[in-house]
Amino acid sequence: MINKVITADEAVAGVKDGMTIMVGGFLGTGSPEILMDALVRKGVKHLTVIANDGGLDQGQYGARTPRGVGKLLEHHMVDHIIASHLGVNPKLNEQFAEGTLTYTLVPQGTLAEKIRAAAYGLGGVLTPTGLGTPMETEKDELGRDKEVIEIDGKRYLLERPLHADYAFCRATIADTFGNFMCAKATKNFNYPMAGAADKVIVATEKLVEVGEVDPDTFAISGVLVDSVVGGEERWQI
């Protein structure tokens, strides 16, 4: 199959209450907005979200609507968030205080590697990040104890892979097979998340036919992508 193009609503049709989803983006930049909109239309609940942060609330950094994960938070669709930073979108702390949302914090570099490990078949990664901090003493996102492993006299934390039911990524250019690239600082988690879920969906600004552009345009192989959705619009401020 070399044409994986479907609509946003078709792309989220299989998302069920209680599932774990990954969402690309960094404070909204590089987030798949049309897929978030489709999830809101579908109205799924009790999601676990894996993302760098909670996106943006309306009005932040010129955002005319909530952005990225912010759209899911706006509609109280998330029960648990696994992220590195939760201080920007005020909806997060509001919902923590209400008791409707819980969180697991993971250092940003570790979060990327846990996701990459799931995408690329690693049993985990060893990192010095977090030694001597609550990252070493507190349990991980699935309630497991952290393990310290010594290699050649140096201590490392073992961080296990982080896999999801769905990964929602945003591309600047994608072809109908799913090969894609993200411009400038929109790459962030969109690249490591491709391949780290049972279903990987890419929403793209520009959708081209197979063979239409130089293959070197693309950074990520379409073999990691299940479906492609066109119609992502450039963010307006």
Partner: protein, 218 residues
């Protein structure tokens, strides 16, 4: 207060060498790039995904695909390179960032750092701070010496750590302190203060360098 921040930023800027790759934390540390000595060009690493951060974007001319790690729209230098988060933190963890400059809530005399959480307060998260301070070759703390009169430089941090024994240098409005195996060594003291002043504002025993110098304004 503004002058104190400028003083700290100017002094930290002198630590940087031509060609260094540097990551600047939010707040006071971002001021450091305004005071680089002549002939020193550094490449700023922005952990959300590029090397070659330049300045804040002009209003109306923002490129919505370029933000810094605080979420603000910014510009990039001509030698910029953009990458994903895994690569960005590989560059940090791999020791390819020469220095990271950041603020602190608490620093201990052995170099322990706490700057990401106050239990019971609003949840923010560590973002990239833990990776940065365990991966960068040099960790420089740029901060005011005390917080509303309370000590920030201590024998032991009471807040949860960002990383153990990671700080190399502390620059405050009062002076410059180096973390050594013997303890915290004051290498420069600002002329506005005496040795007694800086010791009284510090929660651990300070060692004064034999060749203690005045902290320069320029």
């Amino acid at each position: 207060m503004a002058d104190i921040k400028v003083r700290i930023a100017k002094r930290v800027a002198k630590e940087l060498k031509d060609g260094d790759v540097v990551n600047l934390g939010i707040g006071l540390p971002t001021m450091v790039s305004d005071y680089l000595p002549e002939g020193v060009t550094v490449t700023l690493h922005s952990e959300n995904g590029f090397t070659g951060l330049d300045a804040a974007a002009e209003e109306g001319k923002e490129d919505v695909d370029i933000i810094n790690s605080g979420g603000a729209y910014v510009t990039a230098v001509p030698w910029v390179n953009y990458f994903d988060t895994a690569t960005s933190f590989g560059i940090i963890r791999g020791g390819h960032v020469d220095a990271t400059i950041l603020g602190a809530m608490q620093v201990a005399e052995n170099g322990d750092l706490a700057n990401w959480i106050i239990p019971g307060k609003k949840v923010a998260g560590m973002g990239g701070a833990m990776d940065l301070v365990s991966g960068a070759k040099e960790v420089i703390i740029a901060m005011t010496h005390t917080q509303k009169g309370n000590h920030k430089i201590l024998e032991k941090c009471t807040l949860p750590l960002t990383a153990e024994k990671c700080v190399n240098l502390i620059v405050t409005e009062m002076g410059v302190m180096k973390v050594t195996d013997e303890g915290l060594v004051v290498t420069e003291l600002h002329p506005d203060y005496t040795k007694e002043d800086i010791q009284a504002a510090t929660g651990c025993k300070l060692i004064f360098a034999d060749d203690l110098k005045p902290m320069e304004e320029e």
